[in-house]
Amino acid sequence: MPVLARLEHIVKDFGAVRALDNVSLDINEGEVLGLMGDNGAGKSTLVKTIAGNFQPTSGTYALEGKPVLLSGPADARRHGIEVVYQDLAICDNLTASANVFLGREIMRKLGPLKVLDHKSMNTRSAEIFRELKSETRPADLVMRMSGGQRQAVAIARTRLAKSKIVLMDEPTAAISVRQVAEVLALILRMKEQGLSVILISHRMPDVFEVCDRVVVMRRGRKVADKPIAQSSPEEVTGLITGAIQTA
């Protein structure tokens, strides 16, 4: 699998606190990577470094072989990196299609005016939902939707930008068991389409169900990075708590 992003010897300091300590990580094309660790282990600092929110104190970050210094999330988005936020960043009072296109609406000409092209946006959203095999209707309000459908809307936003890497922050934290299954199916759909997905999760069963590889962080260090098939929930738990030092 070709490497999409390569982080080498990344260090991130916040004053005297070393949040990331010499972390190296490859993100491969078409791979689902589980990122696990306790609170404060450096997971979100790592994710925010990948997503351009933070610039590393030292170390190199390369995308498709070229070193980059991302200036912010918008810059990261231009490089094909999208984040699906934990709180989803979705407007309940708008339709699914309006949410997918929020901030990048398709406009059409009406005489001298430029107006929203509802039809094109609905058609394109429907295509994306079909690709994701989600039953979400573009013209329905998000407030009437299930947790799984809302995730589909959030993920559809990333599909619009033709992203290559999608970072998902605790996508299954606040939804029902049945909806978790729906979201995991969506992650596999993204993988089928050649996307790399980084799943940040506390839920062991989710990680073991969809991930190809698991990375465990503890106290700012990467303590494990191995194919999921060669690990076990017991081992990962031990790595997270520190009962097992490295693996």
């Binding site: 918008a74 009072n93 708008l94 929020l102 929203l116 013209a139 049945r178 299954a181 729906e182 969506l186």
Partner: protein
Amino acid sequence: MSAPDDHPGMEIDLLKGSSRTLLNRVLLAQETWIAIAILVLGLVVSMIAPKFATPGNLLNIFQNACFIGIMAIGMTPVIISGGIDISVGSILGMCGVTLGIVLNADMPLVVGIVATLAMGVLCGAVNGTIIAYVKLPPFIVTLATLSIGRSLALVLTNNQVFYEFGRASDAIVALGGGYTLGLPNVVYALVIGVIVLHFLLTMSRWGRYLFAIGGNEPAARLSGIPVDLIKISAYAFSGFMVAVTAIFLVGWLGAVTNSIGTGYELQVIASTVIGGASLTGGFGSALGAGIGAILVETIRNALLLAGVNPFWQGTFVGCFILAAVLLERIRSVRR
């Protein structure tokens, strides 16, 4: 809901949208229910007071409702964005006083209109700028400007009443109190206002972003929407509509006192809320604001003609506000 591994819904056309028919949607709209309330109220009152259903009185209701209605149209984008503007009565005072001073100085009507509109937009933009950039709650900011605006109107006029409008005298009275094709001019202003705002809310990026900000402001920011500018523009739009009201109201009254517009904010907000706008943001419509204003004015007029002591008006309007908000809640459960 189906499990992810079977998709019985996939053969249906996703683009068909919800299965609701047009009739169903009309029946679910707040505007429909308010219109029905107006009709029922009108029928009941016309049985008690035969004078109610005369063309003259109905036109009178419509004309009176227009002043509040135009301001309610301005209030709607503000409320949709999750804000509130309780300074509209004082902005009306500032705009009326501006028009009075400019016309009193023997300026042409066009200059007066431009100055008044500029004053309205300026007042609104000041509200919006403080709310967006200083990040104080809209209620507090506009409570402050309510006080400041009324006070400045007194300072500017030195408690003087303007009834001399120089060479624009006839023109301003003809504009505000006159008729075109059998209808008061202000009615056209309301109708144009409803159509323009409806277009903006449903077809423009501006409208879409207002709803997004009212629905989830952090999400709107993450999507790259210029949230602060959109908020300022909403308050400036409100100020603009207040200025339009001021021009018609001054022409209709034929004079400007510095107390013009005092207490209007409650009627304006009541109209907007009765018309289906949600004070928590994210919902509201242009037609709702107009129809809400007509309901409020119908209640006032009906009570007067039915011989009810006018002291009761506030009680009735208050009950309708509660009923409208309850109706909104029931509808949102059903949809």
